[in-house]
Symmetry: D2
Subunit: 343 residues, 4 copies
């Protein structure tokens, strides 16, 4: 059994790792850390796990973590970049669900996160864990940077078009919406049910931290810089991200439906829907799946791509396990066969 | 007292008219019709109105309606266009909340609604009831076509930019989202709580019936045809529309915040928020108010305008009463002083 | 105009006072305090109030407050009991929405709130502000203790039965459920949307602080001690309290429907529904109204009473204004004519 | 592989059977019927199942169904009782999720369902599928009547107390609440999101069809007739049932926590929570699990038992599969290892 540790196990991506790994035959969670809840049983905080795990939270001791084969960081940014060097030195492979190693340029990272990067020397070797783009490099990754939730949805939606040079890369638009679990499990008035239920709003319009990550990824596949206007919104629900993407076509003769179906035909977790069927976040709730649809309204020159994922699964913990499977040479869908909980 | 009738009083815009008119000092609701609920007391169907109205639903008899000074049609499309000619002939003024008289071109109307228009001869004289554009014409309207909910939000958001020619009119984008009450009170599986709660999706992407109405209105203010990509989404909540609008600026030197504040400075129901504050649907819930914000992310060439209204108030019944007040020469905010119900 | 001050104006009962008082013709809010938000405009925190109030939060200075005719405390417990003596001494009348003066026995209060009462000498003169019971005493109240939300719903539901001695007072049961706004606007993980949406649970089963208040009130009307099993639950929504009450009848021949209708016939804000119609929280949302229904299932010996109120209105701020109107000799429904926002 | 058929596969219990059976190693779904959707692919209606099943709905042909080893009826009442005799005659075992065979007394059934029973001769041999009570009889059942959702929660909560004779059986109270999915997937105005979101109400107070089923089951374990006051409520969410049960203790010296823990110690799907921890529906969402807690508030003579299940899993489809496993001699938890989806 592969020994797995989780740093930051009280948050939503932490408990989601636990939920998914419970059905994984080849790994065993041997350590889960939390400074605030050290000593408390995991199933006391999360009673859905009673009878599943016999684990308690511990302080994040490097020695314990270094004894793991793989350590997941399910932490806010600024935690992993301080602990990872020691773990890598000990030969432990790291899958970081936070933003610390997603952006290759440490100056750009500092600009968006407001502080110097603590281990910039690792950025060059960190592998960006979007399997649909980087599968080959993921196999041998020692340090894997798991993509953000919005970036996963936007990139999977635009990659075929940009790879083929079919749209204007200077005027891409992403109107995305996320459930509140994307904001994490933190005591903030802004995320109280009484504040965000029954309402809808945009936020971070002037500049959201996921923007540079998305533009980096899209520029890579486009082969030249792209410019994206990215507007995230907050949905009055727990799980799910939906991105509605707009781009101006420079060639209206291409069979876009065929392009997308072909592009993702071998991908186990990307599902291009039949023409005319649009994704809903509920059909991927709890599942490591991305559903995509596209349309050219009125046959004009703007293409609309719609993408739905569960922000905690394909947008975080499920994708992390998918990467782990690739890194370990296991079947890519091991532990990831959950079906969307509908209704 | 002005005598008011309501045709189609069991739907959500009907009961919302009743809620708002209850605080209006100059009108009295004397008739409310429903074929399905004829004979049933209004407050039996809507117990929030107990003690407020002593009314029962009746069959929609032209004679009764013609005895009213003003008749509201709170019906699906295809009802008003058959009854209105008789009422106008009797001297009754009509405020139609449905789509029947919103589009001036009856051929275009037929294309989107799939049937011939029953009274196309009235289209030329019907006044489109967006007070912020048409206040002068509304005063003498005999037949007023109340704008749709999405069209109200999109037009109020784009009018200043298009009027001043500041953006590319050929590539406008509206990513809008509506609460489920916009779908009306009809027995459809698609709108069950179990189907649409906890989820988010786009719909009508290939072509929503509000598109021609919006393009007509925007083209009017732009002075030339505009082209809009309009993608509506369904929110897992009851009330509220939020439109996120994108346009490419052809002049980046203009003070857009100042432009919008100035444009709407005298409008009682349009509220341009301070720079950096974004609208939320909850702050306008139950209120006849449109809140607008705008941003140029990263100082690039795409402007983002965010607009929030309550689809049942400024997007329907409140706007209808605002129009009625203008038509009657009353203070425009009479009966419309409700404050957004927050939290 | 009566000068009104509000202490603790950032919470939900504070903003609800502002919403309701905006339509009150005889009072003017001249001061609103908040230590945390001092200096900030009220409509910056609550944009639904833009254009309605030109007020900013201030520090809670006794001098400013003492200049008011009436001061509302919309604070957690433990604030009013320290400030009220000074205000009363200055001749200012106080309406306390918190729990500080609801329980007459300061030892009992201390037992449930875990600290000594700071001004126990005022408890004897504080008037419990349930107008349906205490209207006469409220008129001259200098210090009014506004009932809690659960206590309002449970008392209004059981008073007729207990007053008439029709049920076993030793085995009363209240299974109540509240929207999350009842927990206030505080940064707690427990009330995040991601924690309480899509779920339902009981809480405080071993003993909720509203229990002694309810038993005190019910014992008063029963004329002897009553015993209540009170189980509150948390609903995945913002506003509304629903109490389902069970009691064993000792006389099955009484016309209970007639009793209740007669009991509340003159009450402006208590509405006994027709037999067979059950209350819903949505029909009283935003309204100062209590709707009650009762049933004896299967004609057995247990009566079920259902009660719905809006916890922020009849359960807090609306009731406070109702009390204020009585204290000022104004029409009891002034400023309280809002209709339930349905749908 | 065991061949399984599902009658009524478009409803929520039908699609839930499909979701759960997808992870079951020993069965294969070979037929799924729907008159309304005959010919349509299952994953067209339920896109969460894309790639999981290659099935289309068919007409409910007895011949096809009789070729199955086991047929589930996921239908409204009044369907199974007409088709089951033919299937049983063909040697097919039947698991009926509807109410048709739950009540042994056909006169009582007729009284509550308003029509004669179509196959009363089968009632005596139908086995009531509550494994925690009837496991031994379930093994050989040819016709299994799967318990209702409310009845499962109420019975599991009261069985230990009634079996041991610890409470007054004449005054049991159940205040239950269910998510809207319990009402099924039918086009009814009453279950629109706009009607039931953001609200809470009791319904069926005069007499809900689950009452006789519950009283039958409780009387069996009590050994004499019991009387229950049962009030169901509708929760503004999709999944989950929570029952709060009240009973008067006739012996206050018993260690109830110990009794319950011991009673269910070997049950794989009943989880008695530690003292002071109360169940939440979210911790069992999507899982075949019943969580129970109990409390004697204030140490008085009324015990409160709280029970949470997912109405579609332990309250329907999960329990049906649990019964199937017992009938087939398979491990009872096969295909039922899903963990509650939290958050």
């Amino acid at each position: 059994m592969v020994k797995v540790g989780i740093v930051g196990g009280t948050g939503y991506t932490g408990v989601e790792l636990l939920r998914l790994l419970a059905s994984h035959q080849e790994v065993e969670v041997v350590a889960i850390t939390s400074r605030a809840e050290s000593g408390r049983r995991v199933d006391d905080l999360y009673p859905n796990l009673r009878g599943i795990y016999d684990l308690a939270y511990t302080e994040p001791a490097p020695k314990t973590l270094a004894a793991c084969d793989i350590v997941f960081f399910a932490t806010p940014h600024n935690v992993a970049m301080n602990l990872v060097p020691e773990l890598l030195a000990a030969g432990t492979r790291v899958i970081d669900l936070s933003a610390d190693y997603r952006i290759r340029d440490d100056q750009l990272w500092s600009k968006w996160y407001g502080e110097p990067h603590a281990s910039p020397e690792l950025l060059a070797d960190a592998v960006y864990g979007l399997p649909e783009v980087n599968r080959a490099q993921i196999v041998d990754a020692q340090l894997l940077a798991c993509p953000g939730c919005y970036p996963t949805s936007v990139q999977l939606g635009l990659i075929p078009l940009l790879s083929r040079g079919l749209v204007d890369p200077a005027h891409l638009i992403a109107s995305s919406a996320s459930g509140v679990s994307g904001a994490g499990r933190q005591a903030k008035i802004d995320n109280l049910l009484s504040e965000v239920s029954d309402s809808f709003k945009a936020y971070g319009v002037a500049g959201h931290r996921h923007l540079p990550e998305i533009e980096q990824g899209l520029s890579d596949v486009a082969g030249s810089p792209v410019s994206l206007t990215f507007v995230p919104h907050l949905l009055p629900m727990i799980r799910g991200i939906h991105s509605t993407l707009f781009a101006q076509l420079n060639d209206s003769a291409v069979d876009l439906q065929g392009l997308y179906e072909q592009w993702y035909v071998d991908e186990p977790f990307v599902d291009v829907l039949p023409a005319g069927v649009f994704p809903q976040t509920r059909t991927v709730k709890g599942a490591n799946r991305c559903q995509i649809s596209l349309q050219v309204p009125q046959g004009r020159d703007t293409v609309v791509i719609m993408v739905a994922i569960d922000n905690l699964v394909k947008g975080a913990s499920g994708q992390a396990i998918q990467n782990m499977n690739i890194m370990l040479g296991l079947p890519e869908d091991m532990g990831l066969k959950q079906i969307g909980l509908l209704p």
